[in-house]
């Protein structure tokens, strides 16, 4: 019984889910409106941008790299999407070119990190500045407001009474999950992150995997930009700024380790959802909105530190168990040897 509980907590996705349900019930007990289905759908809808980006980020984090440029990639993508739509371009063309923007920037990041051996944090931090500046050059610092109505209406299409953006998020998580766990190439991401040199020696295409990870992260940010324009209906020149840190925080909250090789996209998605839940719950508890970051920051540290302590404890415990069983074996051998 006890070991089952340990196993359950060890699976990070489950523990974050339990924590989230507990939090939901806690807020619900203060204000029953929070556990309404409508509210939940609203919160889920609000978390989709973060969720999509956290899933993309997971690929990069799994290979033990980091991508802090996603905030500005999302901003540039939203701007490109907005201007193309406003100029009356075909929807397919818009989606294709926006995704290309994300893929190209991700490709450059990936080349820098894998072939030029620039530390990922530096490469993407530089790219964060470059892309932010490019966006402002592109928009000339102006807001894009005349988005055609048909595009904004897509966000309100409901399939099985669930909004369209939520479907995009769910489908992307599922595809990413299946790709990472069920295909051979997907497992490479874990192998590269867990032991890069080992993966190299085994003949895995390490650099290709890294470039692909950054491209997927860029594409996810581009998709987030598409959803942003759909949901919000205008693009300010600050769009996406600061998102990168929320995305990484969400992935870490969901159990994706920055050291690489550990975590899942489901966890990252749950982390993103939990992050949004925390932010949107404050209104229901009648706490002023300016408490948002303080509480999310505190919870993030608490969960990450708690998890690290717990993992240490588990390690110690399993070592102790091993030692005990070894000693028992010795004793058995000795008792057998005596007669």
């Amino acid at each position: 019984m006890k070991s089952l509980l340990y196993k359950m907590i060890k699976v990070r996705e489950l523990s974050i889910l339990i924590l989230m349900v507990a939090y939901f019930l806690f807020v619900g007990s203060i204000n029953s409106q929070f556990t309404n289905l409508d509210t939940i759908v609203l919160v889920v809808n609000g978390s989709i941008i973060l969720l999509v980006m956290a899933v993309g980020q997971s690929f990069v984090l799994l290979t033990s790299n980091i991508d802090v440029s996603v905030g500005s990639i999302m901003g540039l993508s939203a701007a490109v999407c907005g201007t193309l739509l406003a100029s009356g371009a075909n929807l397919g063309v818009v989606v294709f070119s926006v995704i290309c923007v994300g893929a190209v920037i991700g490709f450059v990041n990936g080349i820098g990190v894998s072939y030029l051996k620039i530390p990922a944090i530096i490469m993407t931090l530089g790219m964060l500045g470059v892309v932010r500046g490019l966006m402002l050059l592109y928009t000339k610092g102006m807001w894009i407001e005349n988005i055609p109505n048909y595009y904004k209406k897509i966000a309100r299409i409901e399939i099985l009474s669930i909004p369209f953006p939520v479907w995009i998020g769910v489908i992307l998580v599922l595809i990413a999950y299946l790709f990472l766990t069920k295909t051979k190439f997907g497992r490479y991401f874990y192998a590269v992150g867990d032991n890069t040199d080992g993966a190299q020696l085994l003949g895995l295409p390490v650099n290709v995997v890294k470039v692909l990870a950054f491209m997927l992260s860029g594409i996810s940010a581009a998709i987030a930009g598409l959803i942003f324009v759909m949901n919000i209906g205008f693009v300010s020149n600050q769009t996406g700024s600061g998102m990168e840190l929320q995305v990484i925080a969400a992935a870490v909250l969901g159990g994706v380790a920055l050291t690489g090789g550990i975590g899942s996209v489901i966890g990252a998605g749950l982390g993103a959802f939990f992050f949004t839940v925390i932010n949107s719950s404050l209104v229901f508890m009648k706490i002023p909105a300016y408490w948002n970051s303080a509480i999310s920051g505190f919870l993030l540290i608490l969960i990450v530190v708690g998890d690290s302590r717990f993992q240490k404890y588990l390690k110690k415990r399993s070592l102790q168990n091993q030692k005990n069983s070894l000693e028992e074996n010795d004793r058995e051998k000795q008792s057998k040897a005596i007669p």
Binding site: I66, G112, L116, K117, I118, P119, I121, I122, M123, L125, G126, M127, L128, G129, V130, V131, R132, G133, L134, L136, L137, G141, N237, G242, L245, I248, A249, V252, L258, T259, P288, Y290, W291, N292, S293, A294, I295, S296, G297, F298, L300, I301, V304, V305, S308, R309, K312
Partner: protein, 334 residues
């Protein structure tokens, strides 16, 4: 011969030459750029970057990183503002704000040193936490969270805007930081230990260095640096806001890395960071004079960060090797 070349090819010297070239380039582009008075006072615009980047150098040399320093700037600014608005003497408020920031840094350091959570994750969390606390302080004291507190006494405003012996105070402050932190890093036992921790944490631990204390103290210094930087910003704008410095983290880390500090730890100098801060600042100033907006200059600054790392990795090493190889053959020949 060899050591001379090595000295010549030092990164700091290269940066300095680059800085001179930059000044000449912008001078040719817009002649008004080379007005010495303007040039000196433009340092006011980016002194805060250098002040935060110098202590950050210590953190990065130990192999860590502190992304919460921007939030600490806001925290320090709003603490001074709220305490002063609450009727406290401005200088007492200033000292309390610095203590708060050092404690914030201590919290970072404690978590980094005593758990095995990566520094980036820890400071990411505290970045939200400190920014949040700053917002709570400002929101709790007045109805609108984003509205600044202004009307500070003139003596406080003069910290960043005043002139001493013909030079702006911010230049004196940077020189003071360069001296204090330069001596601390390069001439004391503490500084040597900081390098050792960055090069090999385990070896440092087994040779009896209090590694946890070293790591913790560097984060405290970074927090203090962020605090001072926040106060300079508050004084410069003569207004206290909780989101001052929110965008500072990119230029601060750029200055440290461009200055030659390895993000992997173990390498870096205070002088390099200072020169790099000026290079970045002057680049911003020059580009803005020639008609770019401050946001657009981030393209150049971001690009510079990437190019600098690539150059340090390939070019300089390559050139060094080439020189050394040629130097040794010529000495052999003679």
């Amino acid at each position: 011969m060899k050591s001379n070349l090595k000295r010549f090819l030092k990164w700091e010297l290269f940066l300095f030459i680059f800085l001179v070239g930059e000044l000449i380039f912008f001078g040719l582009l817009t002649p008004s750029f080379l007005n010495v008075q303007n040039l000196l006072f433009s340092i006011n615009d980016f002194a805060y970057i250098g002040l935060a980047a110098i202590p950050m150098t210590f953190v990065i040399i130990t192999g860590g990183i502190d992304v919460s320093v921007g939030s600490i700037m806001g925290l320090s600014s709003i603490t001074v503002g709220v305490l002063w608005a609450g009727g406290l003497n401005i200088w007492v408020a200033l000292i309390i704000a610095l203590i708060v920031c050092a404690l914030a840094g201590l919290l970072n350091g404690l978590i980094v040193a005593y758990t095995d959570v990566q520094p980036l994750v820890v400071t990411l969390g505290t970045m939200f936490l400190f920014a949040g606390i700053a917002l709570v302080i400002s929101g709790g004291s007045s109805a609108t969270g984003y509205e600044g507190i202004s009307g500070f006494p003139n003596s406080f405003v003069q910290i960043a805007n005043g002139i001493t012996l013909g030079l702006p105070n911010s230049i004196w402050l940077i020189l003071f930081f360069l001296l204090i932190f330069g001596v601390l890093l390069h001439l004391t036992k503490y500084g040597r230990n900081v390098y050792l921790v960055g090069i090999n944490m385990k070896a440092a631990k087994y040779s009896g260095i209090a590694t946890k204390w070293i790591v913790m103290s560097t984060y405290m210094l970074a927090g203090l640096g962020g605090g001072i930087s926040g106060i300079i910003l508050t004084s410069y704008f003569s207004s206290a806001r909780s989101d001052l410095g929110a965008q500072a983290i990119l230029p601060v880390i750029t200055a440290v890395v461009l200055g030659g500090t390895s993000i992997l730890g173990g390498r870096g100098t205070v002088l390099g960071t200072v020169i790099a801060s000026i290079v970045v600042g002057m680049m911003n100033y020059g580009l803005q004079l020639s008609g770019m907006t401050s946001e657009q200059t981030t393209i150049i600054v971001g690009g510079m960060l990437i190019v600098a790392v690539v150059m340090r990795r390939f070019n300089i090493n390559y050139v060094k090797k080439w020189f050394v190889a040629n130097g040794s053959t010529t000495t052999k020949g003679s």
